[in-house]
Symmetry: C2
Subunit: 711 residues, 2 copies
């Protein structure tokens, strides 16, 4: 890829971005679209188009994003969103610090070196500005050594500050005097079966002995498959009833005053069989299902108890301490952990036994490792076809089409990136599914696990795979024979791919941020649904209900950009500008999304952060090792002065882990002992954990009848 | 070493053993020696020579040892001693199970194979009975494969039973309704300094907030160097006063009715300066030191507070749970752990800070790694001189001495083993010192750490070093070039060293158990002291006070024997007999020592066990890998059938760790919640932790004056 195709790539990306932003500006001003562009505000009860002339100005959203504070984020979307901004700010900060020093220093140093014309490196404009332009063994390389150190120390400094800050964010959230049900509960698994006792009796007597004063009640996890099926049927019937009634009301208005009662057929999918009155049909069905559900609920609670429970305590300190303490003599029984929020519990994973969880974890790791290894094969193909010339060799008919300059350049610029992006977009769902299969009990932890897998996936496959170029498998074989060659192979391949990654970063931020802001896809789906499907208010609300902020794919993608920018920062400093643009734009766009669009479906109080921190450090380490190799390739005599850097990074990671990590895993008692605003109403806390399919009004009436707990 | 010198070695070892046992039988029957041979009983208030004719019979101690139960051991020496016997029993059990199958099967299989005479292996009697005698690629090797599996499965089965048993021993000890001070306390370190507050105020307010109901009091660790010096002087003066008075009383009886008052000189070491009356001198000194000590105690308690404290709770569950919970937001502050017994606290290590401890640990690990690597050099020399022939080449004058058959054979048999034993006896003290330098807060944990280091030391240096033979350094270089050759090198060298290790095991058990039983050295020291030094009862008691059971050196030595016997069990099955003898004799001798001689100075409730378990498994793994290599050397076509074994061992280790380990690290709440015999007297518990140098009668009078805690 030469310089002109790079420029074309930037140009096209930017044009797409402009079009999408224009779409956003136009569409978001219309009142009918406000549920698409401001759903989070609407759900929070703030009407976005009411507050003055703010929305008249097409750039007001930028002003709004820039002026919003961390408190706004915390109140609109919680700690996890705030932590994501700490991450973006940190990445941006490191790159800005790098840019301030590297651009004015390294570019002139590189550009003014007169490399021998005899060199077999073809020099085009961009490469003149990179480290490749500096002569071998030149003393100018000292500037690059200092730059390598500067980037590393900027990273340490800002990462340290960020970890401190996130730790305080988490502490503030956990200290909050607001009642939060999960702070009073722990999750107990692997309860050993005992004859002649139900699990519920067993749990109660066990915890009453250990915590005679603070134990409140327990909720044994049950197998809810059956009851859930009935409950879902009931819910569907209720919805259909409302829908049928709405259709009836509408038909009254439209056709004749009596209206036309909607009908449905009783057979398969409502398409075959006798035609009946829908309203009557659903009413009958509901009346039939309600007693059935009640019977099933009782059976489930009594007979389908599993070896797992949620245990409630009357104060936060006991719950926090209980979640961290070993309870049984045999460590694989009565295992405890802090209870996740009720709405993010993965109920089906709770009864999985200790060794089943371990086994599933290792099996999943093995699958992911295999996936990482074999995803290389398609990506290897892509990499081989990166240049159109090679593509033309395989598919000769392309020659005719791609002859004219513009199309050719565009194709050349986009082909590989588009294929890569399609590949990567298939990944997050697969990894999330695999992480859930590990037996992880809560959604946020599963997302954390998926995101971690995704990071190693992208770095190993996309970055290293693309850099070394389609031959990762062969590279591994070569490395197997001579392990010390790994660094050299990486270092020699890196400079050649600079332009590819430059255009990848540009495509990424222009197109994906453009798509995110304009919300073209949710916009189309919402309007289609509104026009042709939605009959009731509930259905309409369902149609525009905003999704969660997509950590699983967003964070690893940002991480890939960080890895790319770090690794090229000293070699081709111009890439830092793109990195800064990526994170600055990302910050503003995400700010808008978090304030106006996405609603968080769970809160992990920043447990994602240690992962992010580790991954930034991993990227830094890769960068340091690569630089070490590249200086070696440059035959720089003083290359060993870089050896302290990776050691420092490991030391930094070690100290951070020791100082901060444990608090992100467990709640510290100091934090849990902060006073509450009000005395907790334990009954409400207990009820918030009851899964919807088991929630009946019965619980209000009479506690003694309630088989959930024999307190 | 040939077969006849092996027999000589056995013979001599056995003669030494017999002599030592005769000495024991003779000496232990004399009433004057009972403090040497039965100190533990005497301290427990049981007079060993009083109970009937038991001691008349020279073998009665064997009957006594055999008939003693685990309860006897628990009551005489506690859980740690009982755990050591579980270890011995397990090792013995594995070897007996191995012997039952391997000896009757493998010996005939090996002996009846007609190996080609052309083979360059010189066949002597012993080697006929070993796997070396089986032809390459022979189908008889299947018997050895099955034997390899049999030994492994016997080990898994007995290790599993043993871990369960030890876990129950520990649980019973921790559940015990007897009050134990350390169960009510936790050790808090890394208390961050705060201005305007003493550490003691800070600790009290911190823990009162978190545990408003169960917090009792705190004891801040102080820098006791100064006060300790004074206290030691005072104690010495007190002792000397008693001694001087005793000398005076004695002189009254002996010379003249008035007696001769003992004198001492006031100068350096009592050897120079003015001569004064000793009794008066010490009385004056004591009167001068007491007020000085009191002043110093107050100063220490007020002004020398360090960032570490022992915190007391009013119940066991809170203490157990507090020791496991994260307290502070910053993990490197307010770190907690369960308090060790007061008498095994290493006070000087308590105030060491978090990162200092980490740093010290890694520095010590590095030193140990270096020591392991460089101990090889002397041991390499020893190994090179193993045969007398080689020694004669270097030291020609030996030729004259060693010419006669008997001396020559004896020298040949003993030389290397003796040198090895001397080398190894220098080690435990060094390793214990290093482990204490890590900053470990209690003696039992330091011993555990030292013992772990010792194990890797012996296996790497003595076993592997000796096997591969003086060229471990070169071997490492060879392995560095081709890592896959490691197993082969080990496998080919093992058979040649069988006789060396056979005689090593024999020497070890005959001589060292003989020495242990006969207590020759304590016997001599005691009688010398009694005759020439001891004047007072206290001094006499000091002279015979039994030592601790020496875990630091005993366990790793036993482990070395296990490693040797495992590795040779299939190759030279005859070694199993020696292994069985070693552990059987060890069991009986140790039983006698634990019941009659040694008194434990601390109790770790079996925390040593997980280490022992891991080390036995490590030995098993080494054995499995060696066998894999050796079958390869034998060109056995089906060698890969052994691959599952090391995997099984790792899996077994993993499951054991997951199931049992955590309970050996922390007290489970289930266990801690057992009821107590009596309501704890917290004041006594608190006082038991006061170091002797700070212990004054002041504490009884008035709590409010007491600066240790402002409760």
């Amino acid at each position: 890829m030469d310089f002109s195709s790079l420029l074309t790539s930037f140009g096209t990306s930017f044009v797409i971005f402009l079009i999408l932003m224009l779409l956003f500006t136009g569409l978001s001003r219309k009142s009918v679209n406000k549920v698409v562009y401001y759903p989070n505000r609407i759900l929070k009860g703030i009407d976005p188009l009411e507050d003055g002339s703010k929305t008249r100005n097409p750039f007001s959203w930028i002003r709004e994003a820039l002026s919003s504070t961390e408190e706004d984020i915390l109140s609109m979307s919680g700690v996890d969103a705030a932590v994501y901004f700490v991450f973006l700010t940190t990445a941006l900060g490191i790159l800005v610090l790098a840019a301030i020093v590297l651009l004015p220093v390294l570019l002139p140093v590189a550009a003014t070196d007169n490399i021998e014309k005899s060199s077999n490196v073809t020099l085009i404009n961009l490469e003149k500005l990179s480290m490749g332009h500096v002569k071998e063994m030149s003393h100018r390389l000292w500037a690059f050594v200092i730059a390598t150190y500067w980037v590393s120390f900027s990273a340490y400094y800002l990462l340290w500050k960020a970890y401190n800050h996130v730790s305080n964010l988490r502490a503030t959230a956990l200290k909050s005097p607001k009642l939060r049900a999960e702070q009073f509960a722990i999750l107990v698994r692997d309860i050993p079966p005992v004859k002649g006792q139900t699990t519920s009796e067993q749990v109660d007597s066990y915890f009453k002995t250990i915590y005679p004063e603070t134990f409140y009640r327990s909720m044994v996890v049950t197998d809810n498959n059956e009851v859930n099926k009935i409950w879902e049927k009931l819910e569907r019937s209720k919805k259909n009833l409302v829908r049928a009634e709405a259709i009836y009301e509408e038909s009254k208005k439209r056709s004749k005053p009596a209206g036309r009662k909607p009908t449905r057929k009783t057979g398969f999918l409502g398409l075959f069989g006798k035609e009946v009155n829908s309203i009557q049909y659903y009413n009958e069905k509901i009346n039939e299902l309600i007693p059935k559900l009640e019977v099933e609920q009782k059976v489930t609670l009594r007979e389908r108890q599993k070896g797992s429970a949620i245990v409630f305590f009357t104060n936060r300190v006991t719950a926090a301490s209980a979640a961290q303490s070993l309870h049984a003599q045999m460590v694989d029984t009565w295992t405890v952990m802090d209870a996740p929020e009720p709405n993010q519990l993965i109920w089906s994973n709770l009864p999985k036994s200790f060794y089943e969880r371990q086994l599933r974890q290792y099996v999943v790791y093995a699958i992911v490792a295999l996936a990482i290894f074999f995803y290389m094969i398609p990506i290897g193909f892509v990499s081989a076809f990166t240049t159109l010339e090679q593509l033309e060799k395989v598919l000769p008919f392309l020659k005719g089409i791609s002859h004219p300059g513009a199309i050719r350049t565009a194709l050349e610029a986009y082909l590989p990136q588009i294929v890569l992006i399609i590949f990567m977009s298939l990944l997050p769902k697969l990894l999330f599914f695999l992480s859930k299969a590990e037996g992880i009990p809560s959604e946020s932890l599963a997302i954390k696990a998926a995101s971690g897998k995704h990071f190693y996936f992208t770095v190993l496959n996309v970055f290293i795979g693309f850099t070394v170029g389609g031959t990762l498998f062969n590279t591994f074989k070569a490395i197997g024979k001579d392990p010390s060659s790994a660094v050299t192979i990486l270092a020699t391949s890196i400079p050649g791919n600079a332009t590819f990654f430059l255009s990848y970063v540009a495509l990424k931020f222009f197109v994906s941020y453009g798509l995110e802001m304009s919300r073209i896809i949710p916009f189309i789906i919402y309007h289609l649904k509104r026009k042709y499907f939605c009959k009731t208010d509930a259905e309409l609300k369902e149609a525009w209900r905003p999704t969660d902020f997509d950590y699983v794919s967003k964070v690893p993608e940002d991480m890939l950009i960080i890895t790319i920018v770090f690794c090229y920062s000293v070699i081709t400093p111009i890439i830092i500008i793109f990195g800064v643009l990526y994170f600055a734009l990302g910050w503003i766009v995400s700010r808008n999304q978090v304030l106006n669009v996405n609603t968080p479906s769970y809160e992990s109080n920043g447990r994602m952060w240690p992962h992010m921190h580790t991954h930034i450090l991993a990227a830094l380490l890769l960068y340091q090792v690569t630089m070490f190799g590249y200086f070696g390739v440059k035959k720089f005599y003083y290359t060993p002065v870089l050896i302290p850097l990776p050691i420092l990074s490991l030391l930094f990671a070690f100290v951070c882990r020791k100082k901060f990590y444990h608090f992100f895993h467990s709640t510290s008692l100091e934090v849990a002992s902060c006073e509450l605003k009000e005395t907790p109403n334990m009954e409400i806390i207990f009820k918030s954990f009851i899964p919807p399919c088991l929630n009946s009004e019965k619980y209000d009436d009479n506690q003694n009848d309630d088989p959930l707990s024999q307190v």
